[in-house]
């Protein structure tokens, strides 16, 4: 049971962070289908920091630098969406899809190239970070980590930023009625870049939280197994509102955890070997039927919710429509 709780919390934190990221982007008017790709690149950023930090670095520094690494990578990567969608008015679905494919491909190429450069016989796409990861844990031997606290803090900050600050009011106006924002002198392009960059930051952070969840190495060929899309579902189920997104994240995180637990995985997570077993089991639910069902559930629920609510959708009204200053 404690295992279920641990994993629910881990997955919920990931989903919460990424969905909040998506929420910022959509409130600015840009649909971010590319969250999956952003997560992979953010995870890569964090993993590289963990890999290259000397073993003796103190916990807080590791945590801080990993967060900075993943956030920076995520933001840089999200600029691909920002530039294409805002400056060049590209189709946001097309660009997002490309980013998802590109994220995994690029991360794999980079990691493989680095591994091969270190050791010519190493052609894997893995990065391991056993020592660094332990420093994230709140309690030794239990999968409660600092990221969960961070996620809660970011939830609160997101709510305040969106609804209590000048920035939030302006951001949301750009997603609802950019012509109105422009007419009162708000720079719609800037606000949309801000929204996309925040989604990159939170998506990237979510990525690193995901790959450090109970495992000490990551094979980048695997991407993030649809967590970016699951986060989209969380955002939709959460009706683009931080509070409801948090509830949705917990629910969907619980389903994911259930699916993992149902794969028959129990036992100590303390040592690396068990963690690897866990990893393998997680992604090889050989013939395990209930686990798969729990994986499907979040998507089915979202679809049903969409079917019943889309006629009066809470989605920002101008999302997905490129803003052109010339056309008003």
């Amino acid at each position: 049971m404690s295992l279920l709780l641990q994993y629910t919390l881990i997955f919920s934190s990931v989903l919460l962070l990424v969905a909040l990221g998506g929420c910022f982007s959509e409130h600015s008017g840009i649909i971010n289908i590319g969250l999956e790709g952003i997560m992979v690149i953010g995870a890569l950023g964090g993993a590289l920091v963990m890999k290259y930090l000397p073993d003796g670095t103190c916990g807080a520094a590791v945590l801080g630098l990993v967060v900075i690494g993943s956030v920076l990578f995520g933001m840089l990567y999200s600029l691909l969406l920002g530039v294409a969608a805002i400056r060049f008015k590209a189709d946001q679905t097309l660009v997002g899809t490309a980013m998802n494919l590109l994220g995994t491909a690029a991360a794999t190429v980079i990691v493989k190239a680095m591994n091969t450069a270190e050791n010519a016989s190493n052609v894997s796409s893995e990065i391991s970070y056993i020592a660094a990861r332990k420093k994230f844990l709140l309690v030794d031997g239990m999968e409660f980590n600092w990221f969960m606290i961070l996620a809660v803090v970011i939830l609160a900050v997101s709510y305040i930023v969106l609804y209590k600050t000048r920035f939030g009011l302006r951001l949301r106006s750009c997603g609802e009625h950019p012509q109105a924002s422009d007419s009162v002198g708000i720079n719609v392009y800037k606000m949309r870049y801000a929204g996309v960059l925040i989604s990159g930051a939170l998506g990237g952070l979510g990525g690193v939280v995901y790959i450090t969840a109970g495992v000490s190495l990551w094979k980048f060929e695997n991407g993030v197994a649809g967590f970016g899309f699951l986060a989209l579902a969380v955002m939709i189920f959460g009706a683009w509102k931080p509070g409801r997104i948090a509830l949705a994240a917990i629910l969907f995180g619980f389903f994911r955890a259930l699916s993992n637990v149902y794969t028959g995985l129990f036992g100590s997570l303390a040592d690396g070997a068990a963690e690897i077993t866990w990893l393998r089991n997680t992604f090889n639910f050989l013939g395990n039927v209930p686990g798969t069902i729990y994986n499907m559930l979040p998507y089915i629920i979202s679809l049903i919710v969409l079917a019943f609510t889309s006629k009066s959708s809470a989605a920002p009204k101008a999302e997905g429509i490129p803003y052109d200053k010339g056309m008003r």
């Binding site: 060049f88 493989k112 499907m296 679809l303 009204k317 056309m327």
Partner: protein, 398 residues
């Protein structure tokens, strides 16, 4: 009033040039990445990718590997037709990936569990894909659910569902489904002796390729020449107008997604019924085939005939990537290039505008049509306006 259009202003020529530009840019960026990884072998690597089957010296092996590329081109072409057809009718079928998955599941299950003949398996795949398309279409027609979102959800639902279904027809010791040659010989797509005759005894090459190319021609015909095409496109461009002029706009929308889904579903059958590969029931990601279909569709200038060539090209460089590991580069470099090409396809409009601007500056001689009335400057963007208006309309319904 007719004036001679400059060669470079012909739509076909422009589409081709833009696609070539995207490819070139994608390759250059890929090359730069290769240079960073290992400057010494970069040139060899990029040429290896582009050579693909020509990397073999013996003609026989070249042909056989060309055959392999063609085997995978067929499903890719079907997926790109799926995306293209929907896009031409105003819908973004990001769900080609999921429709491909259910197609694979349906045909493999029919072949391996029930041992049905190939044409039944093929039809099962077609029906499964179409059904998934219908779900997205109906959700959009009746519940106003954006097809991109519903397709994303359905992609994942399909993946988990098919993984679950095909677990019943897999080897106990491996995650792969039974081989067609051992468990479902009756379901092999006929290869019509094509592989033997043309592709160095490649038993996988055959009917699939022919079906895919025929499908491309059929789609070109439907979209450009038929009443069905006229109605579906009208519905896609402007649902309200389609309704106004008496079309069954909900039916049309669902029909578009059904055809689109059927194409992607059939695509899967064209691969898995050749026995070229098996389904891995532990896949944790939706297969890239459907997404690459998006790339091929856009790279082919959203033209069914163009899609034949763009699908081949994308498969060609993807297969070329498999030679990379041998010369010390990651094979994903070709995924990187093809995803870059999709990304660049997002800029097609911009590239065309820039290109035309360039042309206009360099050929002042082409006078403007005197009878042409300028489009109204002050009218607000009609599409943005209608999009918002549609949204509002949806919002007002109880």
């Amino acid at each position: 009033m007719k004036e001679k259009k400059s060669f470079f202003k012909l739509p076909v020529v422009q589409a081709l040039l833009v696609s070539l530009f995207c490819i070139l840019l994608g390759l250059i960026i890929g090359f730069i990445v290769l240079l960073i990884i290992k400057p010494a072998g970069a040139w060899e690597a990029i040429t290896t990718i582009l050579k693909n089957f020509w990397n073999y010296t013996r003609t026989n092996l070249q042909l056989k590997n060309l055959g392999n590329t063609l085997v995978k081109t067929a499903p890719l072409l079907m997926c790109s037709l799926s995306v293209l057809f929907a896009y031409k009718a105003g819908l973004f079928n990001i769900g080609a990936a999921g429709q491909y998955v259910v197609g694979a599941g349906a045909c493999l299950y029919c072949a391996l569990a029930w041992h049905l003949p190939w044409y039944v398996c093929l039809l099962a795949a077609l029906a499964a894909g179409a059904l998934l398309g219908v779900i997205s279409g109906a959700l959009k027609a009746y519940c106003n659910v954006n097809e991109v979102i519903s397709c994303i959800m359905l992609n994942w639902i399909s993946l988990y569902l098919i993984n679950m279904l095909l677990t019943n027809v897999k080897e106990t010791t491996s995650p792969y489904t039974f081989k067609l040659s051992t468990a479902g010989e009756q379901s092999f797509l006929p290869n019509l002796g094509m592989g033997d005759a043309l592709f160095g005894k490649n038993q996988y090459t055959g009917l699939a390729l022919i079906i895919a190319i025929l499908a491309a021609v059929l789609i070109w015909f439907i979209l450009g020449k038929t009443k069905l095409g006229y109605e579906l496109k009208a519905t896609g461009y402007n649902r309200s107008a389609a309704r106004y002029c008496g079309m069954k706009e909900k039916k049309n929308l669902i029909m578009t997604m059904a055809i689109s889904g059927a194409l992607a579903g059939t695509g899967a059958a064209l691969l898995y019924l050749t026995g070229f590969t098996e389904w891995m029931t532990t896949q944790s990601s939706v297969p890239a085939m459907g997404f690459n279909g998006i790339a091929a569709a856009f790279l082919g200038g959203l033209n069914p005939i163009g899609a034949i060539f763009s699908s081949f090209f994308i498969q060609h460089i993807t297969d070329g990537g498999s030679f990379m590991t041998k010369i010390g580069f990651p094979s994903q470099i070709s995924d990187l290039i093809s995803s870059l090409i999709i990304y660049l396809c997002g800029f097609v409009m911009f590239i065309k505008l820039t290109f035309n601007g360039f042309l206009d500056r360099h050929s002042k001689s082409t006078g403007t049509n005197v009878n042409a009335e300028p489009a109204p400057v002050q009218e607000p963007a009609p599409d943005a306006q209608t999009a918002v208006a549609d949204n509002k309309e949806g919002g007002n319904e109880e």
